[in-house]
Amino acid sequence: MPELSWRHHALIQALLSRGPLIEDDFHAIFSGITGKDPGAHRQQFDDYLLKINKELSYVHFELRGCRNQYDGKVYYGVVNNVSDEQSKLGTKYTVPQLAFYKGIIEAIVQDVSAQGHISDIEALNIRLENQVLTGTESESQGVPPAVPAAFKNFSISQKEKTLDELVKDRWLSSTPDGKIRLGVRSFLDLRSWFHNNYVPSCDVCNEAGVKAELCRNEGCTTRIHLYCLKKKFSQKRVERVCPGCGTQWQHSSIADAAIEEEDEPNRPNQRRQPPPPAAAAAATRKRLRSCKIEDEEENNGASSSQTCVPVSSTDFRRITRKSARLR
């Protein structure tokens, strides 16, 4: 059986030792180790990962990439696929801390507006008692299980400390204005949990739509990640309508994204243009943003078929939806 070389080992160890790495960094490491840039040698990159995963499957690990749904960037990490006695050891967090984390995750994914966050105040008000009921032990006998003292006595300051630790370890992330979001590790680790708990998925990529755009039709449950939307509607012949109900998709979300990306610090050369009054510039920015220029011609035609006008974001932000069905 062809064995893994030191190069494969270095990739695995880098992720294990440093935690999840953003795509650029991981690609840089790959280039450094193999001498091949994944951008130019995509097939070889994929082959390497395939080979690694064949071996990792022996211990039920997987090297996978996933998107941070807040910025659309891809991160790579080694994740554990099976929950067993050994993996239960692999945490430095105590039982109440884990219950707290679980409560936060549930609150975030249950956000009906699919903004993918809760405020820090809400986080500190999470009650651990609710976590006891979702354990498997409670399913027998119909007697409500006793709430452990540690859960009842989990103080605000303990919650604050735990929050800080979770953010530091990248299970959660926090924004400057006090919002708590899922961290990269959670996206990597909770993929199957999202599916098992019926978190609504994105219509385009089928991954959980934790932070996603919603169809403006109240009765329609379709949600699509912003980055999936951009990709989908960037194709010339695709109509900008909801794939679920046919309602015209709110253009503002695409235009907003265009303006949002304007502020991105990472790509200064392409972003010098001031926010435009007309649609043509929006199309230009979209063209510059796409990393794979699949179809050169569409970019010329895009400006004419567009009717999108940048609108203020507040008009179309969804506040409440009754249709979100979550356990």
């Binding site: 030191w6 935690g19 022996y58 050994q86 050891l89």
Partner: protein, 232 residues
């Protein structure tokens, strides 16, 4: 693969069962090492994984050996067995329970590759601290009195009462972590002033590869310094 089938037949377990056990051992080693921040694991803990469900006498050793091989081929990690030595001042009650062996995992990658791609810069300060403390004890002959060690640490700005050092946090805890990770061990000895606490190099620092590296680095530093080291 014929030989492994023979080996298995002597144990009367299937390939799948054996693979399952090996995977459990590997996972245990990886998760536990993460949980206790690199402290070595007692061999008993590993044998327990096997003896929990299987009675065959030689099976644990076989599985652990297979796990060691897999850790190497899949991850490039070396699982080293560290012989735990009896503390020099034999404290009879404790010593008999402590004798045994512990295992720790180290990487097999060339040092430059490790440094460039694998090393977590966020924990580099701990490695530096570990190296410095081990060097002090080494230069003191492998054993140093608690007071002596703190004397040297104070010279570097590390104080016993410091709980919020900007890099190391609680200094006492940082030192204690070295004991837990089996770089150092603590001993009491009856000195003329009563009981004194001594720090000695423990199995992880005495392991040949690491020991040689330490000697190498120290001699480099001493050579570069020019002036003779000041050991009081």
């Amino acid at each position: 693969m014929a030989s492994s089938r023979e080996d298995l037949s002597q144990f009367d377990i299937s390939q799948e069962e054996k693979d399952k056990l090996v995977a459990e051992v590997i996972r245990y080693v990886l998760f536990k090492t993460h949980q206790n921040s690199g402290c070595p694991i007692k061999r008993d803990e590993l044998t327990q994984i096997i003896t929990k469900n299987y009675r065959q006498r030689a099976l644990p050793a076989f599985v652990i050996h297979a796990a060691r091989e897999k850790l190497s081929t899949i991850f490039g990690y070396e699982m080293k067995e560290l012989q735990r030595s009896r503390p020099s001042s034999a404290n009879q009650g404790r010593a008999s329970q402590q004798i045994g062996s512990t295992t720790g995992i180290v990487g097999q990658l060339p040092a430059d590759v490790y440094r460039k791609y694998v090393e977590d810069v966020n924990t580099a300060h701990l490695t530096g601290f570990t190296f410095v403390i081990i060097s002090i004890v080494y230069l003191a002959g492998g054993k140093i009195a608690e007071d002596g060690l703190w004397h040297h640490m104070r010279r570097m700005g590390l104080y016993e009462n410091e709980e919020n050092h900007p890099v190391l946090g609680n200094i006492k805890q940082a030192l204690e972590a070295l004991v837990q990770q089996r770089y150092l061990q603590k001993d009491k000895a009856n000195g003329h002033e009563g009981n004194t606490l001594f720090y000695e190099l423990a199995e992880r620092a005495l392991d040949e590869t690491i020991n040689n590296k330490i000697k190498e680095y120290i001699s480099q530093i001493v050579k570069n310094d020019g002036a003779s080291p000041d050991i009081d």
